[in-house]
Symmetry: C4
């Protein structure tokens, strides 16, 4: 039997499964938006106001959708730098997938309690889950770049690694700030999370570059 | 580091993720059809009448299913004309996926309120979401054909681009008319949307051609 | 522009999307099984009896799962005989996918009403949906084998086509008999549907052969 | 017509469908976690305590997620040793997928009844489903290694087969012990299942090796 237990686990294969799981998690988000029933709304006017009252659900849906999509883009970029994977990386990747798959739950909790009394708790819970996701990403990167693992492609230069280090550290700090804000002013925390979505979408250079 | 941030983002890869997301969104539609419970129906006769009363759900399910399937076919045809993708196109594609993933929600709202007092609001909301989807498609096409982006394959001729322009503009107009109708006569709006489904299914030449 | 609108729609690609949709529909079936709540069950004994009372859900889950899986196997075998696809075949395939995606709904209706007063109506509805699915399969095969379409690979012999004809016609008859039985003795209809599952699973030669 | 009915069913293709189904089942687990409503919780404090009370849901989610992920890893390793598949293997694989797809249901039952009176029944049901899954894996392996089937690649040595035999037998015993424990001390059963997750994640050498 070969010594290397992961000889046939190409980065591409792990990436494919991750893609599948991410695509499904991103799609399930919509199921958590509650549908206004005919019992609650007896006119066009009431339905419009009910649909308007659902804005926290739309906010949660959008932030979670874009954040997971960004995770997907960063995931793709990290994996394109890999030559091979090892067990530690697979476990880190699984931890990341657990957070991604779990996200529809804190999103629904946020949507239900935003603008109500449990708003602070829901925002702490939600931004905390996002922070955990970003931290696992950071861990994944540390496993990937570890010199003893020889996982990175040889073509990835030291300069590039340093840039990635800085960018990933910065995103941990930014999501950490959002998490801290959730304890003080929940809406400001969400505004920051939304701003991060817009920023990373419009400024691709702030993300780790594709190789 | 390479200058082109999207060197490895082949159109095929973006298409694959889009395919996955579209396949899931199309399948989730059925979950929004409410199941008649044994409490509501105490005989075969009552169950039949309950199943008949669910016709708005079937209508919504069918229009949304076919519309998303048409989106998928057009998406496939646009992407087959691409040589490479850029960040702007990826963002436009993500906006399109957000609308597709969101569609089960307006579909469920429509199914719940069709034939009831909130019918007009629900139809406006539903046809408005479809119009937004078609408009994002139009935007995606404009990003794709932009000469500075050099995204289109060289084999795509000016004549072909002009034909596509005309077809995509026409579909924006048609879905715009359906949206306008929803304010006046909601059922006529739905009849038009259903007619568009049948038309595009049976007349493939009205869609952008495959290359 | 090329004349053949489907030059790039290889059978493989249509098959991939179908595989995705089928995999998702098969997985969603479990969501329709109602979970016994702690309000209903205050002891181990009550939970066991509640889990036992859910047998119609398990029956529906199993028959639908295996039937969709069989559809998938037959679908795979038909598509492996194709050289290319045309628009008519894509529309037929989409009709088939609509039925597959819709199946969790009649399955849930059956599970809810089996062993209650609406049993007959639910069984008619359920077996009717399966029959429609089988009939669309039959239509798909007729489109595929149509000589003017030149869709079949040249290697498919006349003898083979005749065998497939007979097998597909027989399955339409068998599901038609099950549908007719549902009007008379619903449980016998389900027994026949279950027997068909077992038969096709254990006797692969009754299915169209792989090429 | 060729004699071998499965000539074109490469292991890769069956693996792909299985991957899709497993990815979806793993993602659906989150939908079974009940979302605390604003009616139940009128303050941050109450929401926190409600989120804390949901710990059985988190435990169920985690154990099921990791167990399905392990199934996926073992599945991958078995299929990489296969040269071809036969009908018996496809049926065994389908039986495995049925269990995987069904798992969100016992997981939800466990989450609902853990820490309540139906705890024992729910744990027996849950660990029983896992045991059935492991036993089907064992059966799958026996079909795969059967000498008359010639399914294994020639490169798989007798020593390797013996090691796999031992490992798979041991996992059946371990999940059997967990099942037996569920009748006596449900929480100990769950602790063992969680320990098995951690053990297999951290000790990849206990799993069948990749070839």
């Amino acid at each position: 039997m070969p010594e290397d237990d992961y000889g046939t686990w190409s980065p591409g294969r792990v990436e494919e499964l991750s893609d599948g799981v991410i695509a499904i998690a991103i799609t399930l988000l919509v199921l958590e938006i509650g549908i206004p029933t005919i019992e609650e709304t007896s006119s066009d006017h009431e339905l419009w106001s009910r649909l308007r009252d659902l804005w926290p659900s739309y906010v949660g849906f959008l932030i979670s959708f874009i954040t997971i999509a960004l995770f997907w883009m960063i995931h793709h970029r990290l994996f394109h730098r890999l030559n091979r994977v090892n067990h530690q990386l697979i476990v880190a990747n699984m931890a990341l997938l657990i957070v991604v798959v779990f996200l529809p739950f804190p999103t629904a909790v946020l949507a239900e309690h935003l603008n109500h009394d449990g708003e602070r708790a829901a925002t702490i819970f939600y931004s905390g889950c996002l922070l955990v996701g970003v931290m696992i990403f950071s861990f994944l990167w540390h496993v990937a770049k570890d010199e003893n693992g020889h996982l990175l492609k040889e073509s990835v230069s030291r300069v590039e690694i340093a840039i990635l280090d800085r960018r990933i550290r910065r995103s941990v700090v930014l999501y950490g700030v959002a998490f801290a804000l959730s304890f003080l002013i929940p809406l400001l925390c969400l505004a920051l999370l939304a701003a991060l979505c817009v920023y990373y979408l419009l400024a691709p250079h702030a993300l780790p570059k594709t190789q």
